[in-house]
Amino acid sequence: MDVGQMQRQWIDYTKSLFLEGFLDGQFLQLQQLQDENNPDFVVEVVSLFFEDSERLLKDLTFALNQNGVDFKKVDAHVHQLKGSSSSIGAQRVKNACIAFRNFCEEQNTDACLRCLQQVKQEYCLVKNKLETLFGLEQQIVAAGGSIPTELSFSG
């Protein structure tokens, strides 16, 4: 595959992530903040998101499996996860967190456990997608190309 083909593949893959709702406009904002002086900005922020999320999901699992569930704590964790997923544009994770918070308010443990599963699922999906995307970027750069900066949604 030549660089041109790899770049087109990157564009198509990125578009699909938006069309399928995994990412929203905030991710575009992140990409726009990346430049020659900050070439790894997106990867850095997303890596932080992965670390943060994994910690929060562990804490949530622990908190919801206690005998007396502390819903304030659970809500605080979900609030954090909602915030960070929103900040990087991980739309489906964010939406799953919004639903989760409603059940925290109701103090419904079973529903919360189901929500946690949902959030974990969405997190795994978007993590895989983003890792694939970054893999494509590495290939482009290794082949001497640059990552496209214009994403036109005309196609």
Binding site: Q26, Q29, L30, Q32, L33, N38, F41, E44, V45, L48, F49, D52, D75, A76, H79, Q80, K82, G83, S84, S86, S87, I88, G89
Partner: protein, 183 residues
């Protein structure tokens, strides 16, 4: 016309991701940026120290040093311990700091929260995630505070505040009953 010196912004947020984002956004707009992860650290940086043994009403906490030159403070609302709102109040109560424009950020669109912050003297209230378009609104506030002695500027501020209230009322009208306020 435009001053060559860069404006210095202090950004306060307990989320590392959000600190990274706001720092990048601000630097893109050619601001010098300092980030801290709590309101307490922000106060320390600004030279205000909490005197826990204060037994008298003071309009200003003990002020150690004023060699820190901060032109704008942007802070998250929801933070553990001291909130962004508390920080805003402390800044407005301080003789040396009250003229520094303060901007509040929040992930939640709570009209009463927004109004309370604006009434306490916040210049703007940004909904997270903060966008470049939001950051672009900051320069006018900074230019204004640089000329804070000018009466015309004060009148402009009142007009802006009036417009901001009107904008906020327009935003807040639909879902008045659904108010969610986390600590």
């Amino acid at each position: 016309m435009a001053l060559e010196t860069r404006f210095h912004v202090l950004a306060v947020d307990d989320s590392l991701i959000d600190r990274m984002l706001i720092e990048r956004l601000l630097k893109t707009s050619s601001f010098n940026v300092t980030t801290v992860d709590s309101a307490t650290k922000a106060l320390k940086f600004l030279g205000l120290v909490e005197d826990e043994l204060r037994t008298f009403e003071t309009s200003v906490a003990s002020e150690i040093h004023q060699d820190v030159d901060v032109n704008l403070i942007i802070t998250d609302y929801c933070m553990p311990g001291m909130t962004g709102y508390d920080l805003l109040r402390k800044i407005k109560e301080s003789k040396s700091l009250k003229n520094i424009p303060v901007v509040i950020m929040s992930s939640e669109n709570v009209p009463s929260r927004i109004n309370r912050c604006l009434e306490e003297g916040a210049e703007e209230f940004f909904l997270k995630p903060v966008q470049q378009a939001d950051v672009n609104k900051l320069k006018p506030h900074l230019m204004k505070s640089r000329n804070k002695g000018d009466q015309d500027q004060e009148q402009e501020q009142d007009q802006h505040f009036h417009n901001k209230r009107k904008d906020m009322e327009a935003i807040s009208s639909p879902n008045k009953t659904r108010l969610k306020c986390s600590s």
